[in-house]
């Protein structure tokens, strides 16, 4: 990248069922928080926030164009007010690209999701192509189950290894005041929980429904240095699409993630991710995704994701703690997961992560994913 893009402030709401809150209020809480931290308002003279970028699906939240509430709720009036309808990490990606293009100096990136208002599986089914996959009722859970089956069978990943991922996530979440699920699960509890979609059990899937919002303020290098003493720099980023038809790819691999990661690492000058990163936030909507995405991200070799979990390297205090916040398995809404990863990484790099802080974290890895069985990945590398 020609110049660095800085994250100058981050915020998140508590993640929980919030049926009594309007989406506008969720957006208000998160965006007012970052505006308060920086003292920035929406201005036309180039001294405030220039534009907003939201992430969130219409159908995943209910009302159409809910991001437009930003206009009169926080004063994002008569300016760019755009929305990426993918996982939130892609909104951060686009926000950074917009700053690199010189079209904006300071951007507010906001993500929202209100799962209590929708039927998630039904909407996911509407993402599938209408001729072959939609008619058999395929949704993201059943697509994930097919991928989990293929992956665990091909590489001999055991149910115990996958259960450990959930136990770790819930344990880490106990240190995170914003997390939804932070119970003391054991491997036995996970393996005994109801089967959701073979081989994925209820406790191995992302808790739902959960509502919440995240916000970040991005700025050019010069402005970021002026706005905060602790800027976090985006050093590399990329997204990559995979095939949609599940039969067109070997579900035991995640080629799109490999491509996205290699491009982002090249930009960020990363050669040995496991050693160089101090902390990682990976979007794992189901337990099998942590080992599989770890392979894609180059944290271990192909088929070694299970061993990586067993080794304890990804636990708090290990070589590379993965998801100190608890991650998606502790309950982050759909299409907010990747933005939450970036927010958590930024907190870690600023040394503001409280009880979940990884000491002396200097480089962080954020990951977001969207689509059935990980069709679209986004990787962002960060530095302080």
């Amino acid at each position: 990248m020609a110049q660095r893009v800085g994250i100058v402030a981050v915020a998140q709401t508590k993640f929980e069922e919030k049926p009594g809150l309007h989406i506008g209020e969720l957006l208000y809480q998160a965006s007012r928080d970052v505006m308060g931290q920086t003292g920035l308002e929406f201005k036309d003279d180039g001294t405030g926030i220039d534009c907003t970028i939201a992430s969130g699906y219409d159908l995943m939240s209910g009302p159409g164009g809910a991001y437009m509430f930003l206009g009169y709720i926080v004063g994002a009036w008569q300016r760019e007010d755009e929305r990426v309808i993918e996982d939130g990490s892609m909104a951060v990606y686009y926000g950074a690209a917009q700053i690199l293009s010189g079209h904006a100096d300071v951007a507010l990136v906001v993500g929202y999701s209100k799962e209590t208002q929708i039927d998630k599986n039904l909407i996911e089914c509407l993402s599938m192509d209408q001729i072959y996959q939609r008619r058999i009722g395929l949704d993201f859970v059943s697509a994930a189950a097919l991928q989990a089956m293929r992956y665990t069978t091909k590489y001999g990943i055991t149910p115990e290894q996958l259960a450990k991922v959930v136990v770790k996530a819930r344990k880490n979440a106990q240190n995170n005041p914003y997390a939804y699920c932070c119970d003391n699960l054991t491997v036995k509890d996970v393996l005994r929980s109801t089967m959701l979609c073979d081989p994925i059990r209820v406790q191995e899937a992302k808790p739902t429904p959960v509502d919440g919002a995240c916000a970040l303020i991005l700025a050019t290098e010069d402005k970021a240095k002026k706005l905060t003493k602790k800027p976090v720099w985006i050093t590399g980023m990329s997204s990559c699409y995979d095939h949609h038809e599940l039969g067109y790819r070997d579900l035991a691999n995640c080629n799109a993630l490999v491509t996205a990661a290699s491009k982002a690492y090249k930009m960020g000058g990363i050669t040995n991710p496991l050693k160089e990163f101090d902390v990682a936030e990976i979007s794992e909507h189901y337990s099998y995704q942590e080992p599989l995405w770890s392979e894609g991200l180059g944290l271990c070799g192909k088929g070694e994701g299970g061993k990586l979990i067993d080794s304890g390297k990804t636990e708090m205090g290990g070589e590379l703690p993965v998801n100190p916040s608890g991650g998606v398995l502790s309950g982050i809404p759909h299409c907010l997961a990747g933005m939450h990863s970036v927010v958590e990484c930024a907190l870690q790099l600023r040394g503001e992560a409280g009880k979940r802080q990884v000491k002396g974290a200097k480089k962080a890895l954020a990951h977001g994913v969207d689509g059935p069985a990980g069709q679209l990945h986004c990787v962002i590398t960060l530095e302080n």
Binding site: M68, Y94, S101, I123, L126, Y241, H244
Partner: protein, 386 residues
């Protein structure tokens, strides 16, 4: 702008129709993408970033980019989808411009579509974007919104229903010369004035139709653009002015973000006499009657006097004011894609490649806009030379 200067090197669109039972959404998009690639003399292998855009609820999908991407041959490429209700296509173009100017990519493909024959298109023209507590309760669709605006305009300006019909007839005359346009009706003033009434003074013919169609553009940074094509269309600047979801019954019906956006962008680019300095116009008018007020807001007519230009027969492809030579939105409206069609048409005008509906003379600068919801406008300025 500190980023790289960028240019549109290829454009493509489908022939727009009300129904396309012969193709699915992905196949329809592929038609536009193939046309844009052929226009730029590139192959899909050259593309390194794809930006997609559609207004999902008018399509019946959630995240349709997922199944369209492989059909376009874009597996393994970077990209994402944008959706901003009515201005979706405009925001998708702006995103593609940003991605190309960021220095991260060499060839950015932007493709937008809407296949309204497959879903409840009425949602797109309804109050779906309104706050569900305050405004969602009112039947404030595009039809009633423009009825209110037009009625107020007539009161203030003194124009009659006959003048509104003249605007629609002009649009139809332009559309008849555009081989991609959907509605070519050979209209007369009488036909328009006797058409089915939706909400006075808006008749069915005044409103945009439901369309199945797709359009694509390819954007490159300066160095690459000069290598790819001999006829790059330079993106001079763009300004987005969104204030959606803000409409209230008490608001001035003539308050619009288009005038504000134009004022801003003209100042930024030192344009003092838009009528002279801009030679072709592709302005998004969801109802034919909106064209009158829009002409005043972009600066080709004096306030509340645009209708007189129609009376004097001054608006048309070969006439004094070449406004919407493609026939505009009342002829063709694949919602999420419509602003991209405006950019495509404006690019063709700048290049001199618009064939039958080409505005005579040299087009140095063209203006294209995207409109959405109740108060969203994006204004693009395209130039022949930098």
């Amino acid at each position: 702008m500190t980023g790289e200067r960028i240019a549109i090197v290829g454009v493509g669109q489908t022939v727009h129709k009300s129904k396309r039972p012969d193709v699915n959404t992905a196949e329809m998009c592929a038609e536009a993408v193939e046309a844009a690639l052929a226009d730029a003399q590139l192959t899909i292998k050259d593309i390194d970033c794809v930006i997609l855009g559609s207004f999902e609820p008018a399509d019946g999908y959630s995240g349709p980019d997922k199944f369209i991407i492989p059909e376009l041959g874009c597996v393994g490429k970077a990209g994402f989808e944008m959706q901003n209700v009515g201005t979706t296509g405009a925001v998708a173009c702006a995103t593609a411009f940003n991605m190309a100017a960021s220095g991260l990519f060499e060839n950015v493909l932007c493709v937008a579509w809407q296949k309204m024959d497959e879903a409840a298109g009425a949602f797109g023209r309804g109050g779906g974007g309104a706050n569900e507590y305050w405004l969602g309760q009112f039947p404030m669709s595009a039809i009633t919104n423009f009825a209110r605006r037009t009625y107020d305009y007539m009161t203030r300006s003194g124009c009659t229903e006959e003048h509104l019909a003249m605007v629609r007839v002009k649009q139809d005359q332009c559309a008849q010369r555009n081989k991609y346009a959907q509605l070519k009706l050979r209209l007369t003033i009488e036909k328009v004035m006797n058409d089915f009434l939706l909400a006075w003074p808006i008749r069915r013919l005044h409103m945009c139709p439901t369309t199945a169609g797709s359009a694509a553009i390819i954007v490159c940074p300066e160095k690459r653009a000069k290598k790819v094509t001999k006829k790059p269309v330079w993106v001079e600047d763009w300004f987005t002015c969104h204030q959606g979801g803000a409409l209230t019954m008490a608001e001035d019906p003539q308050a619009s973000t288009l005038g504000y956006a134009c004022k801003k962008i003209y100042k930024r680019r030192g344009i003092t006499n838009p009528k002279k300095e801009i030679q072709a116009w592709e302005v998004y008018e969801p109802a034919s009657t909106a064209e009158l007020r829009w002409m005043e807001e972009v600066g080709v007519a004096e306030d509340y006097k645009a209708w007189k230009l129609f009376e004097q027969g001054k608006v048309g492809i070969e006439k004094e004011i070449p406004f919407n030579p493609s026939g505009g939105v009342t002829a063709t409206n694949p919602i999420g894609c419509t602003p991209v069609v405006r950019v495509v048409e404006a690019s063709l005008q700048v290049r001199g490649d618009a064939e039958e509906h080409q505005v005579p003379g040299t087009i140095n600068r063209a203006l294209a806009t995207g409109y959405g919801g109740q108060g969203e406008n994006v204004v693009f300025l395209l130039k022949k030379t930098l």
